[in-house]
């Protein structure tokens, strides 16, 4: 158990090299890959998420921890597929049409992949048609859209309409989550999005609750 506690500690401190070394040590001691992820890396990100909520950690520090998570996962990846029982949930993400602001979107994507999602990032200026096409191809659990400009927010509504006109939310049990500086819960309700994430950490919490079936 002590090794996991060390991983959790080093993740909080954002010490990438230490985390990598500890993960390797776990492997050399013959620990189960899934256990290393759950009791080490994911347990750390849970604690970090809680500390962020309480204002005890700052966002750039969380991002540094997420980098450590990535580094740890990279070590585990070769072993991961063999021992994994189920595939990670897919999450398609993009900034909507005519909007090229991607910092927030990238942060969400990074945190999602740190939390174990398979993230399909479509980048910026993604048209409704493109979103529909990708959803059909990849069958994601969740689709996330981001907008920074008040003028591009309406494209979220158009995208949802395009997805619904093909019945994708029903047939593929797809959930839609939106976010971005000018976006709020009221807007999400208005355009019929399933969820609104206030920030990158909340987006992950919601995504996890969708996967575990605890979402609304």
């Amino acid at each position: 158990m002590e090794l996991y506690e060390e991983i959790i500690q080093m993740m909080q401190e954002g010490e990438e090299e230490e985390v990598v070394a500890l993960v390797k040590k776990c492997l050399s001691e013959g620990k189960d890959v899934q256990e290393i992820i759950n009791k080490g890396l994911i347990a750390a990100m849970d604690i970090i998420g809680k500390k962020f909520r309480k204002g005890e950690m700052f966002f750039p520090e969380v991002m540094l921890s997420a980098t450590c998570m990535h580094a740890g996962m990279k070590i585990l990846k070769p072993y991961f597929k063999a021992s994994s029982k189920k595939q990670p949930a897919k999450f398609v993400i993009g900034t909507v049409a005519e909007d090229v602001h991607d910092i927030g979107k990238n942060l969400v994507a990074m945190n999602l992949s740190a939390a174990g999602f398979e993230v399909i990032d479509l980048g910026t200026d993604v048209s409704p048609e493109k979103f529909v096409q990708v959803v059909k191809k990849h069958n994601p659990k969740i689709l996330g859209m981001s907008a920074l400009l008040t003028t591009t927010m309406p494209h979220m509504k158009e995208t949802i309409a395009a997805l619904d006109s093909e019945g994708l939310r029903k047939s593929k049990r797809l959930k839609i989550i939106i976010g971005g500086a000018p976006v709020d819960q009221e807007f999400a309700d208005e355009i019929g999005a399933d969820f609104y994430g206030n920030d990158a950490m909340e987006a992950v919490t919601i995504a996890k609750s969708i996967v575990t079936g605890k979402g609304k």
Partner: protein, 476 residues
Amino acid sequence: MIGNKFNPLSGEEIELIHSSSLKVLEEVGIKVENDSAYEVFKKNKAITSGDLVKIPRSMVLDALASTPSKVVLYGRQQQHTLELEGREVHLGTGGAALNVIDMDSKEPRKATLRDIMLLAKLVENLEYVDFYIRPVVAQDVPREELDVNKYYASMLGTTKHVMGSVYSIKSFHEVKELASIIAGSLESLKRKPFISFITCWMRSPLTLDPQATEIMMEVVREGLPVVLSSAPMAGSTAPITLGGCLVQLHAEILSGLALSQLVNPGTPVIYGYVPSAANPISMDYLGGSAEFGLLNAGAVQLAAHFDLPNYSSAGLTDSKIPDAQAGIEKALSILQVAMAGGNYIHHAAGMLESMLTVSYAQYVIDNDILGMVSRILRGIEINSNSLAFDVISKVGPGGNYISQKHTARNLRKEYFFPKVMDRDLRKEWTAKGSLDLWQKANHRVKKILSDDQPPKIPEDVDSQIRKTFNILIKGH
């Protein structure tokens, strides 16, 4: 923290003020209605006539030479040690206010001994308040028992340095004995004084207060640290011009230094002042004036020019409640005096209505002001890490710094994070109840005061104190 970033007076102007002050002492003199002080001056060849004492230049120069250029005030924990010298900055509470704004009703009420203890506990937990001057006069305690009880209540709540004034020679000795019991002995108290005294020995203009002078001389004989505090009001008890006010203030304090150094050469005395302008309508003291900060900053320069540890004032306001006026007036004077380099800046937290009322919430708000001012004093650090070429080059055009290690590693030390200033987005602010600063500060006060912290006087010492003195507040 070092000030010396704001100097309203030039070196030449300081010399002009100083020579005018010497001239005032030599030609105008001070009124001394205290016999023992009068005798000391007379014996040392000051020119006396009636109750007037004219102080020769040489006496002042001798005093300047023998006054220590550094006074160390201790707390009862190592980290609370305060070194008063040069432009070293420390910030803390002040005052002898009569009223407290009640936390729940938000109305003023009479201050009590319990307030002194609770405010001490609050200050113990405020990160940027360095010392505790008992802020209020407890009105539920008989005057004869007040001094020992107020020092006791202060030390029960905080281990930071405690300062106050005393009413009589008798109560000075009681307080000294109280502190000696806590220190273990008078010798250890003198070695590391964690309490000290303020004497308002000067009644401006240029008149010694007979009773306070008696007490001042007694503290000086004991060799315990003492502040010589003069509080001239420009326009009523001092000239209306700021320059003239400083000339008189400087002369007054020099006369006190002379007296203290004649009584006990080398004794630690602190150059103290609470100057401001008088309100030309009511003739009351104006704590929130822009001139208040300027006068105090100028006086910091005068003290520092002669290597004298100083006690200055900032953070007063004429507002009656913790509102925008209070914030503006406090921030401006605290910033001025801290940037000047006041060694022991009192009144810097909690005070309202000039010096008449304190508010629990205001201490918490002012703690944030002090934090911001401390950050400003720290300035902009320049070194290879802060110049950040490596990370600029790593991020490159069009990237962002949010996920960079350089950002995560530097943000806590580079930025000050206030405790109660609102930084939420409107939606979060609304979700948390749309609280204003006063309400937020009250929450923090209640959180700190409801936290179960052991009394700062150990139980065995406490029972020893209670055998010696009539302590009127519950300890353990």
